[in-house]
Structures are given as structure tokens and as C-alpha cells.
């Protein structure tokens, strides 16, 4: 039904475009000069026809369910039900009215279901009536405006401008959405777990929070020593460090080679090939690390008499480093190519070799940009999820031995939230608190890195 109304409005919008234009042509035929092109009259009428109806339609869709719910549940008020129980009653009523209810049917429930169906049909009918009235009224208004040879281009363009502006708000809305989805859960989490324990605690064992009778009230003392995030902060930092140990030398050197030494032909092929590494999905890297690199390192370790975990931090970090190579190489390539030629020429004129020029002149000049690209790489490494989930351990050990397994912020979020989640549980909230931490860390890294790169660019432009 809703779909029918929707399609109806859309069709009406299209037809009214033609009517508007036709009207404009007929005015033109009487040798009256129009103030806008005929199609603008069409757009004008179409907007008048469809937009008010759509607004009503969507407002209705948003508010109808909650209003119906309020009315249904008003019968049950003052009877001492809890919110959860009321919700349950409402769900039961809904499924009964659809004929899908399989539990015990009480007379109360039956009356409610009947009332629900009744309300729904009233709502549906009044919606149709209201929308039709609105459409007719707005079409008549719009049509009248056309006949008086109104200026229509300006309002149409103003409307389009408003649409464009609204679209550009999407980015802000997304950011707000992220912050909102994280902040409430995080605040709830810190009501139970002191911030101090979270930041400085050295035991991370969220599974302990799961062994709890849901009906009992929360006992904060139970969670002391459960959500100490030091091991996973350390693990995140450590795996990112290993990744950067792989990515910085290889990425930077290949960036320098591509920018300074490589012939156009080599550059033409090598650059996109290296960038393929950035296009491979991370889950594929994770599989590669878990299936190939992990066992391989373990075999080597055993041959050398070392104890190596099959899910070592080294495997995860190393593969993550390979993933980050292209970010660093192409960014530093860009940065180095934008160093002015004059600096190079000056250095060559003094008799320096190419590598001396690079090391002593170009590299210092490009350093801010390179630091920026490395920071962006670090933020990638910190936020990378699938490689760690698949190739590194899921238990948070506080260790700095690359051959042992350790865990990261992202891996813990996945571990906690995979499967069913109960909102309001400290364990679920812990995942959001970790997400908040991750968001803040990567955000500040990015802002800082972008600022550094921007400053550097301004210097040479």
C-alpha cells in the first residue's frame, strides 16, 4: 500500500511536469512573453505537486508507529508494567494482528489486536485522504501561479540549491551519527567502569563480564580488573610498529626510486602494480597471513629452536606492513616530485651525486610531507581490522615479544560484537568505548597528518 502511494506521487509529479509545460506553451501561443523557459513551468508544477506530499508522507511514516504504540499501550498504563513488558505486549499485539502469534491469546491481547488493526486502517485511510488533499491543493495553487505568468526559474533554482545544500550535509550527519552511536554507550560504560581502570588497568578479560545473571543489578566491583585496556593498547601499538617497520623502508625507498631514478616506462608499470597491493581487500590479507605467513614463521622458528605462536604478532604486523607499502610509496612519491627542480639543480651544480642530493637536499625538504604520509599509514595500521582478527590472537596478552600472539583494539571490538549483542551490557559498551578510543586516535592522527602535509604544500606553491 505504501509503495502504491509512493509510486502514485512520483507518477503525479511527472505528469504535472507535462501539464505545467503545456500551460506555459499555451500562454506562449497567445504571444505573451514568458519570464522563464517553458520547462521551468513544468518543474515548478512538479515540485509543487510532489514535494509537500512527500513531506507529509515521510512525516507520517516516521510518527505513525510510535503514535499507534502510544494509543495501544495507554490501555495498559497505571497497571505497574515495566517498559520492557509493555514493549513485549506491543510486539505480541502486532504479531497477533498479523495472525502470526503462537503463544497464549488473552482477551486483553485480542482487544488490543483488534484496536491495533482498527487504528492502522484509520491511519491508512486518513493518510490517503490527507495526501490527496495536499496534492490537489498544491497543484491548484501551483497551476494558478503559472497562469499569472509568474517568474518560475528563481523558485525552481532556489529549490535545487536547497537540495544540493542538504546533500552536502550528509558528511556532517555521518560524523554526528558516528559520534552519537559511540558516545552514549561509552558514557554508560564509564559509569560502571572507572575511566582510570580502563586506561591503566592491565587485565583485559571481557568474557568474564558475560558470566552474569541478567536479572541481577550490576555490581561494579565484579568488573574491577576486567576492562583494563593497557594490553590491547600495547598490542595495537606493537602490531602497528611491526607494520611500519616493514612499510616505511620498503614504501619510502620505492617512492624515492620511482620519483627520482625510474624511467618513465618503469614508472608507468611499477606504480600501478604496487598500487594493486592497496586494492586487495583486507580479509584476503588476513587469510594470507593466517594460512601462509603464520605457519611459515612457525616452521622457521621451530627449525631455529624458537617458540613461535601460529598466530604471532609478527605475521599480522608483517602482512599489514605489506598492505601499507603503497600508501607510503605513492604519497612520498607525490611529495618528492613536488620538491622544486631548482633545489636539485643547485645540488648537482655543487657536484653532489644523485643519492647525495636525495639524502641531503630533497629528503630534508620533503620531510614534513613524508612524515605526514607515514602518519596516515600509522592511522591505517591502527584502524586495520580483518588482518588482526584472522591472523593474530584474540586473547589480550601484555607482551612485546613479536613471536607471541597479542590483540588489538579493532580485533577486540569484533570479538565482543560478533554474534548477538545485548545493549546495556558492560561488555557491549566496552566495544563502543574501544571504538571511541579508536575514532579519537585515528582522527587526531589524520588531522595532524593532513595539517603537516598542507603546510608543506603551501611552502612550495
Amino acid at each position: 500500500m505504501n509503495l502504491v502511494i509512493f509510486i502514485f506521487i512520483v507518477l503525479l509529479g511527472f505528469t504535472s511536469y507535462y501539464f505545467g509545460r503545456k500551460k506555459a506553451y499555451s500562454i506562449q501561443a497567445t504571444n505573451t512573453r514568458l519570464t522563464a523557459l517553458p520547462q521551468f513551468y513544468g518543474y515548478y508544477l512538479a515540485i509543487w505537486c510532489a514535494i509537500p506530499a512527500f513531506i507529509i508522507y515521510s512525516l507520517w511514516a516516521i510518527f505513525e508507529p510510535s503514535i499507534v504504540k502510544l494509543i495501544i499501550l495507554s490501555d495498559y498504563s497505571n497497571q505497574g508494567y515495566l517498559d520492557d513488558e509493555l514493549n513485549l505486549i506491543y510486539e505480541k499485539t502486532k504479531s497477533l494482528s498479523r495472525g502470526q502469534f503462537s503463544g497464549e491469546i488473552t482477551p486483553y491481547l485480542e482487544t488490543s489486536a483488534e484496536k491495533y488493526l482498527n487504528l492502522r486502517s484509520i491511519a491508512q485511510n486518513s493518510k490517503v485522504v490527507l495526501i490527496l488533499t495536499i496534492i490537489i491543493a498544491s497543484i491548484v495553487y501551483g497551476y494558478k501561479r503559472i497562469s499569472s505568468n509568474n517568474r518560475t526559474r528563481e523558485p525552481v533554482e532556489k529549490f535545487l540549491n536547497a537540495v544540493l545544500f542538504t546533500a552536502s550535509l550528509a558528511a556532517i550527519l555521518t560524523t554526528i551519527g558516528i559520534v552519537f552511536s559511540l558516545i552514549f554507550q561509552t558514557i554508560d560504560f564509564f559509569k560502571v567502569i572507572p575511566l582510570f581502570d580502563f586506561i591503566f588497568g592491565t587485565h583485559w578479560y571481557p568474557a568474564k563480564a558475560f558470566v552474569r545473571d541478567a536479572s541481577e543489578p550490576l555490581d561494579p566491583s565484579m568488573y574491577s580488573d576486567t576492562f583494563g585496556a593497557v594490553p590491547i593498547f600495547a598490542g595495537t601499538f606493537f602490531i602497528a610498529l611491526i607494520a611500519m617497520c616493514v612499510a616505511i623502508p620498503i614504501g619510502l625507498m620505492s617512492g624515492i626510486y620511482l620519483a627520482e631514478y625510474a624511467s618513465t616506462k618503469v614508472r608507468q608499470y611499477a606504480k600501478p602494480l604496487i598500487e594493486i597491493l592497496a586494492g586487495i581487500p583486507t580479509v584476503v590479507y588476513g587469510f594470507f597471513a593466517a594460512l601462509t605467513v603464520g605457519p611459515f614463521l612457525k616452521d622457521i622458528g621451530t627449525a631455529m629452536g624458537l617458540e613461535v605462536s601460529a598466530e604471532s604478532a609478527l605475521a599480522a604486523g608483517g602482512v599489514m606492513g605489506i598492505m601499507i607499502i603503497p600508501f607510503i610509496s605513492s604519497l612520498s612519491d607525490d611529495v618528492i616530485t613536488s620538491v622544486p627542480q631548482g633545489l636539485r639543480d643547485g645540488s648537482y651544480a655543487m657536484g653532489a651525486t644523485k643519492s647525495e642530493t636525495i639524502k641531503k637536499v630533497i629528503f630534508p625538504a620533503a620531510l614534513p610531507g613524508i612524515v605526514g604520509s607515514i602518519l596516515l599509514g600509522v592511522s591505517r595500521a591502527v584502524g586495520e581490522t580483518m588482518i588482526v582478527v584472522m591472523a593474530s590472537g584474540l586473547a589480550a596478552n601484555l607482551t612485546f615479544n613479536p613471536l607471541e600472539s597479542t590483540s588489538t583494539i579493532t580485533a577486540q571490538i569484533v570479538v565482543i560484537l560478533i554474534g548477538d549483542q545485548a545493549f546495556g551490557d558492560p561488555k557491549t559498551q566496552a566495544a563502543f568505548a574501544l571504538g571511541m578510543t579508536l575514532f579519537l586516535v585515528t582522527l587526531s592522527l589524520n588531522i595532524f597528518a593532513l595539517r603537516v602535509v598542507k603546510k608543506y604544500r603551501e611552502k612550495y606553491e
Partner: protein
């Protein structure tokens, strides 16, 4: 003195050579990783495109199926094929003990009943006759036949018993084992049994998610880019929007998963595990990518085009919509495809919104629960059975194939249709 100078010069040249060598080896290493990577995936994955069948003679005995003399089509559909199927397997070795019979049964997939039934439904005249029927081999035998499974392990360490191997070898000798193209890998949904697991459900899940993502992200991103590039006044608020877009582009994907979980599922009560929610989450993620690409291609349209249109009396909106935007479309479209390719490979946010659930039906709409290709890779990679390893690699090959096609497509659009202004 001169000698010293020469020495110094030589050492400087050597340093130069060394430095170049470092650069070359860095590139070599990066490309080496890529090669190992692709080689490894292909060498473990290509066998998954073949499937091993046991060709077993089935005697369609009416009595074993509890059927009358002249059964109708309906009777055939409702008949009990399990006993017939069991009998067929037991007939492979008439002298088998009870334990060995159990082994015999486990040499084929649990679909054997259905495969025999399909054969009879295709040709009801087979009743009372014997015919060779292709039955899907169990994944352990499948792996043995492909040579992925070490046969020389002690019996208690492998999942195939000596007895099964003996019978299997007999079948091989009789030419009753055949390897054919594994069509079911593409047409079956996920399954707990490796030999029956296919990518159809996750593939459809991916398609639906990407479609939802495209429908939401593309219009919003293009409109936003047009506003920011052509209409936005230079003020604090516009700067704020731009800062937001740049930061969103670098937010880790898992944070978007938390957004989907905390807002779309918890607040808006959208259905869990569905491509709809997955697509919305992915669209928020690709939004900045498309906006940035679209702005770049709008910026590349030379101002003279705009000036010419304005000089002809077009309004700002007409200039933009009739001239600038159409000219920028190739760049926008290729940016969109690249953004979608990124979204196609994304896993972490989809796991958080529950698209990791085991789904053994093929979703018919974005509102049905589904997995997606990368999530399928994750699910299979986490399962211990050996048969899934090659499936994971094959699934990766399919996914990479799609990414390559999408990227090529983006390149072609860019090169064929983009106007070069100079």
C-alpha cells in the same frame, strides 16, 4: 693527495650504486610480495573449481522406495529415497560390517538422496532398472582425489579411514570417479559441508549491498560535490563540511560498523544481517570517496566552459546542470566504481551488523539475511575443515576477479570518455 680524492670519489660512487640498489630492491620486494600472494591464492584455489563425483550404479527398486507398481508423478516426489540411497552405497561392498557401512555412507555428501531422486524424477521409466548416477563425493575424498590430502598419515590422524580409501581406490580403478567443473560452487548457498558449500548466497548478498550502496551514495555524493564545488559560499561552514569529508575518508571502516550497529540497528530498528543495512553502512563509507572524485573532475572542467555558458545568458544552475556536470561525468563515474570496488571488499563493518550469520538460503531481496563475498571468505577461513581452504581461495579469486573488472571498467570510462582539455 690525488689518490685520496679518487678514493673518496669511488666511495661516493659506490654509495650512489648502493642507494640505487636499495630503491630497486624495495620495488622488487613489493612486487615479489604481490606475486607470492597471487601465486599462493591461485595455487590453493584453482582445484575448488573442480568437483569430484562418484559414479555409482543405482538400482531403482520400487520396493525399497515403498512404491506401487505404477507410481504417479506425485508418488515419486513423495517417495522415500533414503533407504534406496543407503542401499546403493552399501552395495559397493556387500561384505561390509556395520561400521564399514557407516564409512560407505560417509563417502558421499548428504545430498546423495536428493541426487538420486532428481535422476528418477527426470526419467520415471527408470524404475526397476539400474543406472549409473553421479553422486557428490565427500569433501575428504574430494581432497584426496585432488592430492591435497596426505594419504601417508596414520589412520587415526586423518578423517578418511583406510577402508574408505580402499573402496575409493577400487572405484578409481574402475573409472567410477570423475572430476568435473564445479558448477555447484556458483549455484549453491553456504553449507556446513565443504563439498556442498557455494557462493550463491554471499554473492547475491554482495550484489544487493552494492546496489543499495550505489542507490544511496551516488546521488547524495554527486549533489554534495556539485554544491561544494560550484555553489558553496566561501565561509566557515563550508570549510567545516570539507574538513568533515576529509576526515570521514580516513575513519577506520570498523567505526562505520559501530555506527550501523548503534544507529541503524539499535535506533532505527532495521532488520539485522540484511544487505539493506550493510548497503547503508557501506554507502556512508563510500560517500567521501565519491565526493572527492566528483569534486576533482568538476574542478578539471575548464572555467572557459562555464564562462561561455554564462555569457550566453544561462543561469548559474543551468550552466552547472547542462554543461559542467555532464562534462565531469566520466571522472565521477570512474570514481564511483572505484568507491564501490572498495565497498565490495569491505568486511569488518558487515560483521558488526550481523552479516556474518550462517545463511543457507539464497537471498531474494535486500531485506533477506545474507552474507557477502568477503564475509564468506572470513567465515570459511575460520572453519577448520580442509575442504574449505581451497573454497576460500576460490572465493578470493572470484572477489578479486570482480575487483579487477570494476577497476578496468573505471579505467576504460576515464580514458575513453574523459575530454582532455589543453
Amino acid at each position: 693527495m690525488n689518490k685520496n680524492k679518487e678514493k673518496l670519489l669511488n666511495s661516493r660512487y659506490r654509495a650512489e650504486k648502493r642507494f640505487q640498489f636499495y630503491g630497486k630492491s624495495a620495488i622488487f620486494l613489493a612486487l615479489l610480495f604481490l606475486t607470492i600472494f597471487i601465486f599462493k591464492i591461485f595455487s590453493t584455489g584453482y582445484t575448488a573449481f573442480q568437483k569430484t563425483w562418484l559414479i555409482v550404479p543405482v538400482t531403482f527398486d520400487a520396493e525399497t522406495m515403498y512404491l506401487d507398481e505404477n507410481p504417479s508423478k506425485e508418488d515419486l516426489k513423495d517417495a522415500d529415497y533414503f533407504d534406496l540411497a543407503l542401499q546403493t552405497m552399501f552395495d559397493l561392498d556387500k561384505s561390509a560390517s556395520e561400521k564399514q557401512q557407516n564409512d560407505l555412507k560417509r563417502m558421499v555428501s548428504y545430498f546423495f538422496e536428493r541426487e538420486i531422486k532428481r535422476e528418477l524424477l527426470n526419467d520415471p521409466s527408470l524404475i526397476g532398472k539400474t543406472k549409473d548416477v553421479y553422486l557428490t563425493a565427500s569433501d575428504d575424498l574430494d581432497q584426496v582425489f585432488k592430492g591435497n590430502y596426505p594419504r601417508d598419515l596414520p589412520e587415526d590422524q586423518r578423517r578418511v579411514t583406510d577402508y574408505q580409501l580402499k573402496i575409493f581406490d577400487q572405484l578409481v580403478e574402475q573409472g567410477r570417479v570423475e572430476s568435473k567443473f564445479n558448477l555447484s560452487f556458483f549455484t549453491y548457498p553456504d553449507s556446513r559441508e565443504a563439498e556442498l558449500a557455494g557462493i550463491a548466497s554471499s554473492f547475491m548478498g554482495s550484489i544487493f549491498s552494492i546496489l543499495v550502496c550505489l542507490v544511496i551514495a551516488f546521488p547524495v555524493a554527486v549533489l554534495a560535490a556539485i554544491y561544494l564545488e560550484e555553489f558553496a559560499p566561501k565561509n566557515r561552514f563550508t570549510d567545516f563540511i570539507e574538513v568533515n569529508i576529509n576526515n570521514l575518508a580516513a575513519v577506520p571502516s570498523i567505526v562505520f560498523g559501530l555506527l550501523g550497529l548503534g544507529i541503524l540497528l539499535a535506533v532505527f530498528q532495521l532488520p539485522r544481517s540484511t544487505p539493506l543495512v550493510g548497503g547503508i553502512t557501506l554507502s556512508l563509507m563510500t560517500l567521501p570517496t565519491i565526493i572527492i572524485a566528483c569534486r576533482a573532475s568538476l574542478k578539471a572542467v575548464p572555467p572557459s566552459i562555464r564562462e561561455a555558458a554564462l555569457a550566453m545568458g544561462a543561469s548559474k544552475m543551468q550552466t552547472t546542470m547542462h554543461h559542467t556536470v555532464p562534462l565531469s561525468m566520466p571522472g565521477t563515474l570512474s570514481g564511483t566504481i572505484i568507491g564501490l570496488a572498495q565497498a565490495l571488499g569491505e568486511t569488518a563493518p558487515l560483521i558488526l551488523i550481523g552479516m556474518v550469520a550462517f545463511v543457507n538460503t539464497i537471498p531474494g531481496s535486500p531485506l533477506d539475511p545474507a552474507a557477502s563475498l568477503p564475509v564468506q571468505i572470513y567465515i570459511w577461513a575460520e572453519s577448520a575443515e580442509r575442504g574449505f581452504v581451497e573454497k576460500v581461495s576460490a572465493c578470493i579469486m572470484v572477489l578479486l576477479g570482480f575487483l579487477i573488472i570494476m577497476n578496468l571498467f573505471a579505467q576504460i570510462i576515464r580514458h575513453k570518455f574523459e575530454k582532455k582539455w589543453s
